[in-house]
């Protein structure tokens, strides 16, 4: 596979890889490194890439495994310290503060979830993958995916309700 061809294949989903990596690793720099690493690995496999029927799924699984390994080896602890990089959109100041606040809040809630729930939420609610695709990517049974997803959503809801009742935002 030539460079241009490879880029055409990879471009549509490179952001998805990055977002999944960032969901798991939290830090922007770590996620960028991970994405770069995955893309390099993919490129080194470019000879055999035609054999995979779904390169995107393959790459997503690679990203998932890579990040989980990374978390294991880093003991997770020192990674969690760096998470000061939430994006800001330019809306009016008041609105911006409000939006930013709720986004930061959501980001924190997401960070607290177990990895499995994080991944399922990321794949379904952010990237809108089908259940079958999620099963394939995470190597889980459909019922397990459903249960995890439901738990993750409920966990987020619980935190949001808690916050709403305190009237912080």
């Amino acid at each position: 596979m030539k460079q241009a061809e490879f880029l055409n294949v990879v471009m549509p989903f490179k952001d998805k890889l990055y977002r999944l990596a960032k969901r798991l690793l939290v830090s922007k720099e770590e996620a960028e490194d991970a994405t770069q690493e995955i893309l390099l690995k993919l490129w080194s496999k470019n000879e055999t890439m035609g054999e995979y029927k779904n390169v995107e799924a393959f790459a997503m699984t690679m990203t998932k495994n890579f990040c989980l390994d990374r978390l294991k080896s880093k003991q997770a602890g020192n990674l969690k310290l760096v998470h000061s990089n939430y994006t800001d959109e330019n809306t009016s100041l008041q609105k911006q503060l409000e939006v930013e606040d709720s986004i930061n809040w959501m980001e924190k809630i997401m960070e607290e979830l177990p990895e499995q729930q994080k991944m399922v939420l990321q794949l379904r609610d952010v990237e809108q993958y089908d259940f079958e695709e999620i099963c394939e990517l995470l190597d889980m049974k459909p019922t397990a995916v459903r249960v995890t997803l439901s738990r993750a959503r409920k966990a987020v809801r619980q935190e949001l309700i808690k916050k709403h009742n305190y009237g912080i935002g």
């Binding site: 880029l7 977002r19 994405t35 893309l39 390099l40 986004i103 959503r153 809801r157 949001l160």
Partner: protein
């Protein structure tokens, strides 16, 4: 979409039985300005998911891997090292040979000197022989 429907969808959503399309409807509902007050609390969740999808990987796609660079550098380093060891050995061998040559030469010189002394003494012997011959001849 009317409120009752949204509430039903939300219920399904938390049981994870909604379809991708239904979830899209939910995100759309929560992205608009007027959301029913009792549902307001869910707004950050759906807005966050929509926003999270906007994030981009802005770095260059690295197709010229630095791994290759390291590979070639290491090959070069090994080449230089073995070159050095090979020629270093040759140099050391030459030095050793030179040393051995010098020592041998010294030894030979010593030998030659002593031989010289030896022949000097033999000269006396020859004198004696000549004298002896004269005496024989005279008799």
């Amino acid at each position: 979409m009317e409120l009752g429907n949204i509430e039903k969808l939300l219920e399904k959503y938390f049981e994870a039985t909604t379809t991708v399309e239904e979830e899209k409807m939910l995100r759309e509902y929560f992205s608009q300005e007027d959301v029913a007050t009792h549902l307001e609390q869910y707004r950050p969740m759906f807005n966050y998911f929509s926003m999270a999808k906007e994030e981009r990987y802005t770095k260059q796609v690295p197709l010229k891997p630095r791994k290759d660079f390291y590979k070639w550098v290491s090959i070069a380093a090994v080449a230089v090292l073995s070159f050095g060891i090979y020629f270093g050995n040759e140099y050391r061998e030459r030095k050793q040979a030179e040393y051995a040559y010098n020592e041998t030469k010294k030894a030979f010189e010593l030998l030659a000197e002593n031989f010289g002394k030896g022949t000097e003494k033999v000269a006396y012997l020859q004198e004696f022989e000549a004298a002896k011959q004269k005496i024989y001849n005279n008799n």
